[in-house]
């Protein structure tokens, strides 16, 4: 007994000492690929920061952020929780073949504000407004969820939004179209977005509602096959049974087909429909248009008509189909814009306004309030 406890005491002190030494010697890291943020840096000690308690708080973050083999420890924790029977980690369901983000209406007031803002936009605008509400994948893959896992109430949400917008805004919620194809590769396994295939089903549902011609499913070429998406990082564990994602580009759509001007040309380079420079980075979804842009003007030779598209990132891999169908398109992201969209639509003389927002964005994104401007 005594000997084994003494061995334990030695192991314990040695572990603390090794931790102290290794953490002190190892150089600090700056940016974390898995967390997409700057890790905490050693704070400067000043009398005022110490007295205010800032120094110690920042130091605590720093030593945790910079702990050696951080990603390994994080996955040990997640794996131990998973093995103990928890199937919902950090609000992400771990299922047999995919990570599925949980969906809940957490802030009823914000949802109401957003609905009201869309209503206001419709009454301010001189052209018809259509909302494509993108289902979060949990509604499509309900059968994969663990037993008793709460059903996602997106259908009821869509019905509510349709009712409240009361004919002023046409609402398209393509859940059934997507469910009919759920054995195809329509949502990423490790990311919350739909794939360009899933996006096409959603896009055609929109086009059908608008009375415009549908787009045929193109062939795809893989541009990356090691895409680790947001849900994998949020859950914090890499499950061996869930394959990493393949990022695809539709064949027949080329960068040269589109001219993209970003932020009224205030950005030095013109935009690209497919930006290969992001395929080596940690956020490979930015392959589509280089990520979320505040404002884009996209022109194509093939399309007809014009539209103002107000969107979140679910629209990014839908953009090729969209842009090919319209001669001119203005695309704005409300998170980076506060100008009046009704006025902008008028100034640009577009034929219609189309909103592409996921269920989560509609419920949680405060910047949709600017739609009322």
């Amino acid at each position: 007994m005594k000997t084994s406890y003494r061995i334990l005491a030695w192991l314990f002190t040695a572990f603390l000492a090794v931790g102290l030494i290794v953490n002190t010697i190892l150089p600090d890291k700056g940016y974390s690929d898995s967390e997409k943020r700057e890790l905490g840096a050693l704070p400067k000690f000043t009398a005022s920061s110490a007295l205010a308690g800032d120094f110690t708080r920042e130091f605590d973050t720093y030593v945790s952020d910079q702990f050696f083999a951080r990603d390994m420890w994080v996955s040990i924790k997640g794996m131990s929780q998973y093995l103990s029977g928890m199937k919902l980690l950090n609000d992400v369901y771990i299922t047999r073949d995919r990570y599925i983000g949980n969906f809940k209406i957490s802030d009823k007031e914000r949802l109401q504000n957003n609905i009201d803002a869309i209503k206001k936009l419709a009454s301010n605008a001189h052209v018809p407004v259509t909302l494509l509400m993108v289902p979060e994948s949990i509604a499509v893959y309900e059968d994969r969820l663990p037993r008793f896992a709460g059903p996602s109430d997106q259908k009821a949400l869509a019905e509510r939004i349709t009712r409240e917008l009361d004919g002023k805004v046409r609402v398209v919620f393509p859940l059934d179209d997507l469910k009919a194809h759920k054995d195809e590769y329509i949502y990423f396994r490790t990311d919350h977005h739909w794939t360009p295939r899933g996006a096409l089903y959603g896009y055609n549902a929109l086009q059908e509602a608008l009375g415009r011609p549908l787009t045929a499913m193109p062939e795809f070429r893989a541009v990356a096959d090691d895409f680790k998406g947001s849900m994998l990082f949020k859950a914090g564990i890499t499950m061996p049974n869930i394959k990493l994602d393949t990022l695809e580009a539709p064949i027949g759509y080329e960068n040269s087909d589109f001219s993209i001007v970003i932020n009224d040309g205030k950005k030095e380079n013109d935009g690209l429909m497919f930006d290969e420079s992001h395929l080596k980075g940690s956020d490979k979804y930015r392959f589509y248009q280089g990520g979320n842009q505040p404002l884009m003007a996209i022109a194509s030779n093939t399309g007809t008509g014009s539209a103002l598209v107000l969107k979140d990132s679910f629209c990014n891999d839908m953009m090729p189909y969209f842009a090919a169908d319209y001669k001119t398109m203005y695309v704005a992201d409300m998170r980076f814009n506060r100008m009046s969209m009704a006025k902008y639509a008028k100034d640009m003389n577009v034929n219609e306004i189309i909103l592409v927002y996921s269920s989560s964005t509609l419920c949680n994104e405060f910047s949709l309030a600017w739609l009322a401007n």
Partner: protein
Amino acid sequence: MVFSSITFLFYFLPIVLLVYFLCPRRARNVILLVTSLVFYAWGEPKYVLIMLFSTVVDYTCGLLIAKEQRAGKSGKIFLIASIIINLSVLGFFKYYNFAAGSILGLFGVSGLPTLNVVLPIGISFYTFQTMSYTIDVYRKKVSAQRNILNFGTFVTLFPQLIAGPIVRYSDIAEALDDPKRGSPDMFADGVARFISGLGKKVLLANNIGLLWDALKVTPLGEMSVLAAWLGIIAFAFQIYFDFSGYSDMAIGLGKMFGFKFLDNFNYPYISQNITEFWRRWHISLSSWFKEYVYIPLGGNRRGLPLQLRNILVVWLLTGLWHGASWNFIIWGLYYGVILLIEKLFLLRVLERVPRFVRHIYAIFTILIGWVIFAFDKLPEGLQYLKTMFGVGVPLVSSDALFNLTSNLPLLIILCIGSTPLLARVPQKVKTIAVPILAVAIMLLCTAYLVDSSYNPFLYFRF
């Protein structure tokens, strides 16, 4: 600083151990004093002065009481001074705003302005510890400490500084003055105890706390009966494993530095009545109140009416000690009344019913108590109780079933951990199993602590 942090485990503790065991034994108390001040100042840079003030006051009062008593006088005046000063400090920081708010709420007049004071960490613990010192000096249970550094070490000793147990001066007076205190075996025991406490806190309490956190935000009208019971059971486990885990860490660290603190918990959830529960729960607090309030008030020696009064006074104070809020007062009185009922007749009735019925009675009563304890807004607690008893809500809900199934293994571990089953494992098995388990716990706790700042910034979320 808290024990369950990277800063404590991988910076503070190894450095303190290194300095402590490398320096000459005579310097050890000073090292503990200085490092304890750093430990405290880490979270409360300014309030360290209050603790030092308290130290100087009680050190001086102790010496003056002893001096008076040597001169044949009682020294009562200095005892009273010490108690008044300690209680004033505690009263101001802990209860002033509550009193001001209550006066406004009860009488509709704002007699006192509310102030922007933050409760200094650990003040409820260290004021009780230092008061026990002056009272014991007055009672001649201990002799006054002449060395202010040794006394300061007692007050600030970082293992028990923040969350107890409430260590009385008499418990460690001898070790404090003994430079040869401690031994390698005691150190090794302390390590094992510390790791088990760390595991209780980080792996068990924090994980079951997630369940309580998830359930308690359910709008109360939408909660099912099962969810409400699951939630309060989760809270009961969280508070026990959190608090007793912290006590274990404190006791373990104490042992590493050669101090023996008394046990603070003794498997409270196996109790068969509430009298027994309070002999097993937060022992250092209930024995403090018994020793320094209940017995001086006359205890049970002056007839039943006075005994009943004494019990209610003690439980009112016990409730108030837990926090400056009405629900804690009600929680304390709830226990006071139940203990009275048990004393008057219930204990005798319980003796005649089967063991499992007694156990169900105790657990039921404790869980109702935790509902009062958990909600500092009384209407919310009341609504929660209604939900538990099915007033206008469904019996089961899918989220309750989901939470139950995904936490089932954890709940089983918590049940086993609440009983002495593991302590009864034969020594031979323990010799092998304890170190292996301890290493696993240590690694897992590290993972949890590193993960605590894991915060993927999902700017591309939508």
